[in-house]
Amino acid sequence: MAFYIVQFLTGLASAASLFLVASGLSIIFGVTRIVNFAHGAFYMLGAYVAFTLTERFSGAFGFWGGIVVAALIVAVIGVLVEMVLLRRIYHSPELFQLLATFGLTLMVEDLVVLIWGPDDLVGRRAPGFKGAIDFFGQNIPSYDLFLIVLGPVVLGVLWLLFQRTRWGVLVRAATQDRDMVAALGVNQKWLFTSVFALGVFLAALGGALQIPRDAVNHAMDLRVIVEVFVVVVIGGLGSIIGAFVAAVLVSELNAFGILIFPKISIILVFLVMAVVLIVRPWGLFGKPEAPARRTPGLTVNPWRPLTTNERLAALAALVVAAALPLVAGNYLLTVGSEIAIFVIFAVSLHFLMSVGGLASFGHAAYFGLGAYGVALLAKMAGLPMIACLLLGPLLGLMGAAVFGFFAVQLSGVYFAMLTLAFAQIVWSIAFQWVSVTGGDNGILGVWPEKWAASPSHFYWLSLGIAALAVVILRIIVFSPFGFALRATRDSPLRSEAVGIDGKRIQWTAFVIAGTVAGLAGALFAYLKGSVFPDNMGISLSVDALVMVLLGGVETVSGAVVGAIVYKALNIWLVSQTDWSKLVLGAFVVLIVVAFPKGIVGTLEALLYRRRKSSSSVSPLLTSRVESAE
């Protein structure tokens, strides 16, 4: 019995940090409507800065002062980020905000390695809380007891702040109606900045308080952000009480889950989240959201199928691409195959995002499932390659069917968070279930059969499948199903009113996208001859998002161009620098801020403008009113 109580207390102690980070995320979202994907990065920075300060300054004062000062320093960094970056994108669609803060996360991950090195750092114990307390023969670290008390204290302080101060009243008002607050003479800019500062402070404090419990490392941002997303999805985004209750719930599930499913404890959390989503899609303490703001794809010139000439041009481009083996060597052909595979992957995500209006941040899960599907079939069942290529993607299909069912219950930022969390769950299963997946060592020796083994043959195979995937997805876009999907994207209510079952349509789209992604993954497994958990990792999901964005979200097939350009650049970049995440992150931020239409979108806009250049734009349109919203 004592053991279970101790386990319970450990869970409560873990909940403290999780609550700090989650409440920060919730507060920021409430007012700015931005889901700050960089929140985990601020948590990690808090831990690193606190580590440096507490090592540098000795004594109890050095430790506790170091923790608080670290959180303050990171809060100042957060303010700079808000002023320089976020203020430019408050008006952008959600997708761009998510991507920009995600780009920031990638940059921070490389920056901390650059500054603090790649190794785990073990921090000091907290002065005054070094020992453990004996509880019927079980030890409880006294620092855990400190954290258990701290959680409710912070909750109380936040409650007082929001209920009893003018600032708190303004924040609550802005959470409900930002424009009205401005119309009453409140400068939103500084309200937003101060809210962001508080949120980042809480995240950094959460990170700093972890150093006596856990080693500091450069992967802690993603681990915490996934847990935090689960917490806010369960608790309800925007609710501080919800964040508290859900943080305790998730931490306890982790603490006891490890006793029940030692290897894959995350499944328990997933099950609880699934139940909450079915019963209350907006979370235990959240409120149903008004329909999400405009998603990309609503203001485009109407899409149309290609004209005959354009079809011929596309065919010519394919013929040119198919002629590559006549001139290129083996290395280039392998690169070509990889690009073709990523074209498949990118168009599958593009289909979900642009046609379906559902921006998935975890699309790599289905790519990876396809890859693992092939690897398992080839290695364990010993099936021939054709059978593997046909059956392997079915694992992606099944994953997409299960997760997609839950994901499409939500939309907008909730959808993005949920897909990311699902992808992390799939990743950790691949990582932890060593007996089946080989864990970190992956599955090796998945080679194509003789007929496809030569680089040129494999290239033709990949190219052919890529062309087929693009054509099929285009046909779907202009089919009745595609119309229904786009109608659901543009107006869920109106499409429902004409008899379209929106959720079912979106679920189907999710499954289609997941299956096509699985097909790409299946080819990828044969290309590389191996499968690793990273084949379903977050950075691959981000790669796909960037490809779609680079090509142009509001286009029909921009992702093809985006994938080719991005993958070619990426392969070149990785060969040039060790800090690819830093460059990639900066690149993402740059696209979002400076180039949101993407390559194809920009070209289309240019063509459109040239066609209309005779009718000049009214000069009246130029005056713009500044506001922080």
Binding site: R166, V169, L170, R172, A173, T175, Q176, D177, D179, M180, V181, A182, A183, L184, G185, V186, N187, Q188, L620, L621, S623, R624, V625, E626, S627, A628
Partner: protein, 234 residues
């Protein structure tokens, strides 16, 4: 002049909504902006306080050009705005709603505080702790006016204050607006209801399809039944 609007043009996306709007409001005046649904009354107000992004033209308030300022700065300068849809903060109590509107005292402008407003709107004083979401439409309308007055404005844009209210509440609204006028607040009130406007206004403009098509005293308006019948539904 308290407020002068010149050549105001506004757009929602590619749609041109307001065309060369011109308005003038004198010190302590109550001016009605009359027009049918969709004529552009609310857009005019929203454009004056900077809530419509895409606009051009000049808005002079107390001799200062405010057309380039952000919304909060315009409002803080003493130009209060009461939106049509009331937009009460439903999660906040009456007192908290008033707190959001509170601004420092402004020399020369009428001053308001909670107690004075509770005297003007006695209903509100009886429900200080009630969340805005649990109030009737009339109570919400009073709260939204009181909330704007907490900013001590010298001019208030009142967007359709009588809309959807019972005759009894409309009467109270007339009294409240006259009391505001007596305190020295200049008021622009948009209305579809000519009878209501007549009870409170010194002058009136008529707006139709985004253009001002009449401006004059109430007596001048009464002398032109043709204009009245053409542009207002009675």
């Amino acid at each position: 002049m308290k407020l002068t609007v010149k050549d105001l043009n506004s757009f929602y996306g590619p749609a041109h909504i307001l065309f060369d709007i011109a308005l003038e409001v004198g010190e302590g005046e109550v001016v009605a902006l009359l027009g049918r649904n969709g004529a552009g009354k609310s857009t005019t107000f929203r454009s004056i306080v900077g809530l419509v992004e895409n606009r051009s033209g000049r808005v002079m308030f107390e001799g200062r050009d405010v057309s380039e300022l952000p919304t909060h700065a315009i409002v803080r300068g003493g130009l209060g705005y009461v939106p049509e849809e009331r937009r009460i903060f439903t999660d906040l109590t009456v007192e908290e709603n008033l707190e959001v509107g509170r601004q420092p005292k402004r020399p020369g402008a009428p001053q308001w505080d909670r107690d004075k407003l509770f005297k003007l709107f006695p209903n509100l004083g009886e429900m200080r702790g009630r969340p805005g979401g649990r109030m009737s439409g009339g109570e919400q309308q009073m709260l939204t006016i009181a909330r704007t007055l907490m900013g001590n404005p010298s001019l208030v844009l009142l967007d359709e204050p009588s809309e959807g209210l019972s005759p009894k509440i409309v009467e109270q609204m007339v009294d409240a607006i006259l009391a505001m006028k007596k305190e020295g607040v200049s008021i622009v009130v948009s209305e579809q209801n000519l009878h209501f406007a007549r009870l409170i206004s010194d002058r009136a403009y008529i707006i139709e399809r985004g253009r001002i098509c009449f401006g004059g005293t109430m007596a001048e308006l009464d002398a032109r039944p043709d204009i009245r019948d053409a542009h207002l539904s009675l």
